[in-house]
């Protein structure tokens, strides 16, 4: 079975004052229908840039896609012209952004903004689009949708605005939904509601979801498969059980150990918090070696000289780390 969305060897570069910087370097990933793929990593790892590249929204003129392919339903979107991209964007592939406060236009009603995509892509009349919009607002559990459709974004709370964003993204029933940190600005209780909603959509409509996040807890709850990114490269990929249970890359292990995990029930004890020292290096200073070597407790001289290839560590579970090829074999997590 072919994947619905397949990215191969994607390369994106940016012109900066420091010269040309490679922000995505050979990223490959795929999503099947009805599947949730989690992309995880710190800020500056290329998670959001991957999403923008899929949508053909790499900022110009500074950004350039310099290699690779983005195949959606067999078609290479990188070769498509702007008119074709406009047909796909918002219709077949939709995106929800991190900031529900700034992603809605304050001078149009919520209804206008949701209906726009329906009129544009589905060719509905104003009356049809309005009916469809009310249906969508109800689907994302906005109470009194018939009344609230005529309200403006400032009359909605943060959680409700994010629901409107989701309604906007889903009004054309896209096959792929890219959610870029959809709950970062929200309370935990509201985050749980949004996650429920995304899951409901996946279960009932078979929408493929790409969930971009830095929270391993969110990954654990939502994702089927996980891609871990660091400094513009994919460093590990596998089924969620493998990534959480047997992480192969030191960075993945660091991400798992550095967040205090809530423990409930009798005998709940605090686990030690391990830090990943340092910060993500500036991309223009990356050498030839593994970008994580400077922060890695297990780095060897070889790590700084050459980027490791992908090793297969289990079924569908791959990671790029020299430790996996070291003579003593893989170290226990």
């Amino acid at each position: 079975m072919g994947a619905l969305l397949e990215i191969e060897n994607l390369q994106v570069e940016f012109d900066t004052w420091e010269g040309r910087v490679r922000v995505l370097d050979g990223v490959s990933l795929s999503v099947n229908a009805g599947e949730t793929l989690g992309i995880v990593g710190e800020s500056g790892c290329g998670k959001s840039m991957t999403a923008l590249a899929i949508m053909g929204l790499v900022p110009r003129p500074a950004g350039h896609v310099t290699g690779g392919s983005v195949r959606f339903d067999g078609e290479d979107l990188l070769k498509a012209n702007e008119a074709r991209l406009r047909e796909v964007r918002g219709h077949r592939i939709a995106m929800i952004f991190q900031e529900p406060m700034t992603s809605l236009n304050p001078v149009f009603t919520v209804g206008d903004q949701v209906a726009e995509a329906a009129r544009l892509h589905l060719g509905l009349t104003a009356a049809q689009a309005r009916r469809r919009t009310i249906e969508m607002l109800k689907a994302v559990h906005i109470p009194e949708a018939e009344r609230r459709i005529d309200e403006y974004p400032h009359q909605f709370s943060g959680g409700m605005r994010q629901r409107v964003m989701i309604a906007m993204a889903l009004v054309c029933e896209p096959q792929v939904l890219i959610a870029d940190e959809p709950t970062t600005a929200l309370d935990v209780t509201v985050q749980a509601q949004i996650f429920d909603l995304l899951q409901e959509l996946r279960d009932t409509r078979g929408t493929a979801i790409v969930l971009i996040t830095h929270d391993m807890g969110a990954i654990a709850e939502m994702a089927d498969r996980v891609v871990v990114m660091y400094a513009g490269r994919k460093v590990e990929e596998g089924a969620v059980e493998r990534i959480l249970g047997e992480p192969a890359h030191p960075y993945t292990r660091g991400l798992l150990a550095c967040r205090p995990q809530l423990k409930l029930g009798p005998g709940a004890v605090r686990t030690a918090l391990q830090e990943i020292p340092g910060v993500v290096p500036p991309l223009h200073l990356l050498g030839r070696g593994c970008a994580f070597a400077e922060r890695c407790g297990e780095a060897m001289p070889r790590c700084r000289e050459q980027f490791p290839g992908e090793s297969e560590v289990g079924p569908g579970h791959r990671a790029s780390c020299w430790l996996l090829e070291a003579p003593e074999g893989r170290r226990a997590a």
């Binding site: 409901e200 807890g217 423990k263 009798p266």
Partner: protein
Amino acid sequence: MSDALLRVDDLKVHFPLRKRSLFAAPQTVRAVDGVSFSVRRGSTFGIVGESGSGKTTTALAIMRLVDITAGQVDLAGETFSALQGEQLRTARRRMQIIFQDPYSSLNPRMRAGAIVKEPMQRMAIGTDAERDERVRSLFEQVGLRADQAQLFPHQFSGGQRQRIGIARALATKPELVVCDEPVSALDVAIQAQILNLLGSLQKQFGLTYLFISHDLGVVQYLCDEVAVMYLGRIVEYSTREALFENPLHPYTWALLSAVPRMGRRRKGGEEGRNSRLRLEGDPPSPINPPPGCRFSARCPFAEERCRTEEPLLREIRPGQRVACHLVRDDGTVPHRPAVL
């Protein structure tokens, strides 16, 4: 209790709302509405709740950064809330705050060293040479190099900026440090660095923290006692062990079950959605809150009594207090969801 550094007694902060018309009834935002707790010296006290629960306003009122409507705040036996003028100014050095956003809480036009030095100058602590020396030692204590004091805030990363904020808060040798979501604006991998730093500084200097957070994982990691706030009131007030082993209030359940956890796979479909305690809607507004229990409108278990009679915070067992009619005196609660 003799070892209580901070005692807060029936604290209220109300903000009058501008009338919409001349004849409209006056409205009041009851941001904090009768909050009492005490913090032991050298311990960490956590306040958790959704946005709008009044947790930050409580901290600001304690620090006298917003006006107190009613109630009393004692710091080491002294009535801090009654101090005025010069006395208040002198006493302020005993309480400092670390802000949430390390980007907007540092003056971009001041060098890092000057930022850390400023509170000591304002409060006329030591000679200039002593202040410079203290800036140097503070920089090292928070994990920065002393020569970095010459740099401007934009030359630091987010985690380093938060270290500057911590150094500034420690400059006047405060007894109480209020941490208002000190890690929520930071990258995941950096959060651990700052949390560990806060922990080791506490051990080293015997600091007392009032820790405001919405992240229950962080609260469990750092806090000794925790108050859960909802719409300006404390609904549950427990030791860390009691709260996470045996949470009693339905709102606490809802908060806990909303946190994504590793090792808990979310089940698809109706069954998965029912396995957690879900709250519908958003928190109601603290303007003229409903009579009875403030949580009753969103509580799936609310009874008639909850809507008419406001539950008081009462002790169920040592170290565990809850404000809920449903909790029986022996500490058993009906409806407790299985996921907890």
